[in-house]
């Protein structure tokens, strides 16, 4: 079995130490960081996502695999930057102003990173202006907003209205999610998509950026 295949399989098992060791080996064997990332780490996480979707594995398995992915990514990141290799896309995410719940948003961020996206996580209690400023500054293609309270859901509309005012609504796609939301509400406020869970968020973002 080649080292990338091995890397993918060990990542699926969620062994962070072993992933770190194999990534070091792959680098030492002169494999390019982009190849290691795409054919080792991202390939492994893609299988994890598929197995999770098929209920063959469960949330803790996905999260252990994500930790292993990050262990490999930490080693590759400086090399990717050095070689000027861009990520497949940039996504700004955050929990809207007034809301401190961030578990769901964190899961979305973890899955997006696992799919190879650069994620700018603004945290929780994020004012509308910060979403806009950050997306413009970072050149993000997607803004992802999360809310767990009915009282904070209107902040999402405020952000969407601001993107329209700034003339970036067509360029930057807005995806929303959170327990009290629905597809109808998302449509009503002008969001481009409602994401029921983290996997759906990855699918949506991939679709917008044109990644298979």
């Amino acid at each position: 079995m080649d080292i990338l295949q091995q890397l993918s399989e060990i990542l699926q098992k969620g062994d962070a130490d072993k992933v770190s060791e194999l990534t070091k080996n792959a680098i030492a064997n002169k494999l390019g960081p982009k190849v290691i990332l795409d054919d080792g780490l991202i390939a492994g996480m893609a299988i994890v996502g598929e197995k999770f979707k098929a209920h063959e594995i469960f949330l803790p398995d996905v999260l252990l695999a994500a930790k292993a992915m990050y262990a490999g990514m930490d080693l590759l990141k400086p090399l990717l930057i050095k070689e000027g290799i861009p990520t497949i896309g940039k996504v700004v995410i955050g929990t809207v102003q007034g809301d401190l719940h961030d578990i769901g948003k964190n899961l979305v961020g973890i899955m997006l990173k696992g799919a190879g996206f650069e994620v700018i996580d603004l945290g929780n209690d994020v004012p509308p202006e910060e979403f806009i400023e950050s997306a413009q500054r970072e050149g993000a293609q997607v803004i992802g907003m999360s809310a767990l309270l009915t009282t904070t859901m209107p902040v999402m509309k405020k952000v969407i209205d601001m993107t329209k005012e700034c003339g970036i609504y067509e360029r930057i796609k807005i995806v929303v999610g959170g327990a009290p939301l629905s597809a109808e509400y998302a449509q009503e406020i002008g969001a481009h998509a409602y994401c029921f869970d983290a996997l759906k968020a990855v699918e949506c973002v991939k679709g917008y950026i044109g990644v298979n």
Partner: protein, 237 residues
């Protein structure tokens, strides 16, 4: 009666099975060694960091009417609107398991320990629910002690933000209960801090008053319909 209650930690420790269930792990996979090890570790951390404390105060029906009405945003028809009017006794309460647990969840996510962080979050949510149940038990005991709890009576709790009671009622609830004394703050969006906190009203009265069908307009937006289990639990009290 107005009292601060320290709840024994052992009363609010969730089982490993409950933590795994909360993570969507079915029984067949829950026996996997690494799953149970992680869940066990989360419960252990939770136990070390939690400090469950509650504040409870009796409230009259007239005073509760103001709290229930809140900012005037309740659903036109809601189960609580009728239930409290038919009740024998009411108490406002707030309970938290401490900020330390919430801070540890954040730290675990920040250090890429996602699985453990997620399990600790689940353990803490489950533990907070157990703490609210412990307060309800305390109130039942108190009512029995002072001779205000008939043998045929039961108790149920409701929280702003659920079952047609608008979350903005938190404002009035906090004004009367003052749970800041036990470290629970209310934010502008009516969100409590620490996040793992529950506030609401405990209602005591004849068991029949708690029976209602989940056919209110807002019930269609509810994912859990947990009221069915809660009603069943009252009838079994």
């Amino acid at each position: 009666m107005r009292k601060t209650i320290s709840i024994p930690i052992d009363d609010v420790v969730p089982s490993i099975g409950a933590v795994l269930k909360g993570q969507g792990v079915p029984e067949r996979a829950a026996s996997e060694e690494r799953m149970t090890r992680l869940a066990g570790q989360s419960v252990s951390i939770y136990k070390d960091l939690c400090n469950p404390v509650s504040i409870i105060t009796d409230i009259s029906k007239i005073d509760f009417e103001t709290v229930y009405h809140g900012e005037g945003k309740n659903e036109e028809e809601a189960p609580l609107a009728k239930i409290y009017k038919d009740s024998d006794s009411l108490a406002l309460f707030a309970v938290t398991i401490s900020e330390d647990v919430c801070a540890e969840i954040t730290r675990l996510f920040d250090t890429n320990d996602f699985a453990l962080g997620s399990m600790l979050d689940g353990a803490a949510s489950e533990g907070t629910e157990m703490a609210a149940q412990a307060v309800e038990l305390y109130y039942r005991g108190y009512l029995r002690e002072v001779g205000r709890f008939a043998t045929s009576a039961g108790t149920m709790q409701f929280s702003p933000g659920y079952c047609g009671w608008h979350v903005s009622a938190q404002k009035k609830l906090f004004e009367v209960l003052r749970p800041t004394e036990i470290g629970i703050e209310l934010g502008e969006s009516f969100l409590m801090r620490p996040l793992k906190s529950i506030s609401g009203v405990i209602i005591a009265g004849p068991k029949e008053i708690f029976k209602f069908d989940d056919v209110f307009p807002f019930c269609s937006e509810c994912d859990t319909h947990s009221c069915r289990d809660r009603i069943r639990a009252v009838l079994e009290q």
